[in-house]
């Protein structure tokens, strides 16, 4: 099986790139065509990265039949977060009145909250499991580019295949977010294409706070969601081919890291 890096080396779509294009075609162009490096990274991104790393480690160790001590997982998250914040790339920007210690405390609380509710699976099929999926429209024709990505975790629980998407966010996920999130749809399609029958989606969302709220949901995904995803991807590809790259100006522009780097959007 190819690694995610190998899959990403070929032209492809990702759920993230589709979402970016839908949100703002100009941002998509700056990021994916002009390859503008972001001017900064919000600390929220670093928190998400380090949380994924720590939870992934716990699951991988479980897959190997070992149990990770809570303090080791916390230390891994702390070290990852520290490396993220002090890396040489674009500067990581904190929130107002926030210190690095505050961020580490938040990270620890978030990880503890997730590990408190994370079910111990019977079996771990994969963590950060890469996939490549041909997207086919209703006539059965494959779109010009495949969808490439990685599923946070695929496990077996009570004889069912469960795929988990781990999210950290400012607020709790709304009902609409749960209903329409493309990532869960795409991952379900990828798993079925790989031969898994009726994979069960799971969203595990934790708020970025010192007292985090955790949501564990299993929102329904059906054929209409899959048709919508393919139609969105097809529409995006047509738009790109036609040169659609208008900016969508809204509140998000003020903290858009590629827009800030390009200096063309503000």
């Amino acid at each position: 099986m190819k690694t995610l890096e190998q899959l990403r080396a070929e032209p492809h779509l990702s759920v993230h790139s589709i979402r970016t294009w839908v949100d703002c075609p100009r941002k998509w162009k700056l990021k994916y065509v002009d390859r503008i490096k972001p001017a900064f990274r919000p600390v929220a991104l670093s928190l998400g990265t380090s949380l994924h790393r720590a939870v992934g480690h716990v699951l991988l160790e479980q897959a190997a039949g070992r149990t990770v001590k809570r303090e080791h997982a916390i230390e891994l998250m702390r070290a990852t977060l520290h490396a993220e914040i002090h890396s040489d790339g674009a500067p990581v920007l904190l929130e107002d009145d926030e210190t690095e210690t505050d961020v580490h405390e938040k990270a620890k609380a978030m990880l503890n909250s997730v590990l408190d509710v994370l079910p111990r699976p019977d079996r771990v099929i994969g963590v950060e499991l890469p996939f490549r999926l041909e997207l086919r429209d209703e006539s059965g024709r494959a779109l010009a580019l495949p969808l490439v990505g990685a599923i946070d975790a695929v496990t077996v629980e009570a004889r069912r295949t469960v795929y988990t998407e781990l999210k950290s966010s400012k607020r709790r996920w709304s009902e609409d977010q749960l209903a329409f999130d493309m990532q869960l749809t795409a991952y379900g399609m990828a798993l079925r294409a790989a031969g898994f029958t009726e994979p069960v989606p799971r969203l595990l969302a934790v708020t970025k706070a010192k007292v985090p709220a955790v949501q564990m949901e299993s929102p329904h995904r059906g054929q209409q969601d899959e048709r919508d995803l393919v139609a969105t991807a097809a529409s995006m590809l047509r738009g790109i081919k036609a040169g659609v790259d208008h900016p969508v100006k809204n509140w998000a522009c003020r903290t858009c890291a590629v827009g800030a780097a390009a200096g063309a959007c503000q």
């Binding site: 002009d34 390859r35 503008i36 001017a39 900064f40 919000p42 600390v43 914040i85 002090h86 674009a90 500067p91 990581v92 920007l93 904190l94 929130e95 107002d96 926030e98 210190t99 690095e100 961020v103 509140w251 522009c253 003020r254 903290t255 890291a257 800030a260 780097a261 390009a262 200096g263 063309a264 959007c265 503000q266």
Partner: protein
């Protein structure tokens, strides 16, 4: 913009040498090679001198490079050339040299000749180290301050280029994300107070 082409290291025959301070040999690319590179890699590009000054024997230029919609601003400088009697030969020529220096430095912010700015040949150049964000994360501008600066500029009708120009003039920095919290705070206060002027 063809990033790969823009950041491609220069050939050996495009690299020039000159004597620097403390007996060091400095390696640089001349302005023609930089212009050639911008022509190759960008569909459209434009360079403007935003501000210039002559002081303490030096010509200083604040330059703005816009390449395929991407804007970079920074300073360039050149020591004034004097004849044997100590008279200035041509301020215009020194300003031109400072402008060329500013263009080269702006282009380096897009990745042109980056290998001469702290890359693989860092021991052979005297070029100014690349600008960095404040080292302590708690000293850096916050995302909310960034948003507030954007909102204030929008409200006051201050274009992004002008904001960068103000930042460069006050702090010598070319990137919003490199401001400290204190610098950002002062700027927000100042711009908010200037509302009637725009």
């Amino acid at each position: 913009m063809k990033r790969d082409l823009l950041t491609k290291p220069f050939r050996q025959d495009q690299l020039k040498q000159r004597k620097g301070n403390l007996g060091k040999t400095l390696i640089y690319v001349d302005i023609a090679a930089v212009i050639e590179r911008l022509n190759e890699a960008c569909d459209t590009w434009n360079f403007e001198v935003i501000k210039y000054e002559v002081q303490d024997g030096e010509a200083i230029v604040l330059g703005k490079l816009t390449a395929d919609g991407v804007v970079k601003m920074t300073f360039g400088g050149s020591n004034l050339t004097v004849d044997r009697e100590g008279s200035i030969v041509s301020i215009a020529d020194d300003l031109k040299a400072a402008a060329s220096d500013a263009l080269k430095k702006c282009a380096s912010l897009l990745g042109v000749a980056l290998e001469l700015y702290g890359g693989s040949r860092k021991d052979e150049t005297d070029e100014v180290p690349r600008e960095r964000a404040p080292l302590t994360p708690a000293e850096r501008i916050t995302t909310r301050q960034l948003a507030a600066l954007g909102a204030t500029c929008k409200r006051q009708g201050i274009p992004h280029g002008e904001l960068l120009s103000m930042i460069a003039a006050r702090t010598g920095k070319g990137e919003l994300a490199h401001l400290t919290r204190h610098e950002a705070s002062s700027l927000i206060t100042e711009l908010s107070g200037n509302g009637q002027g725009h």
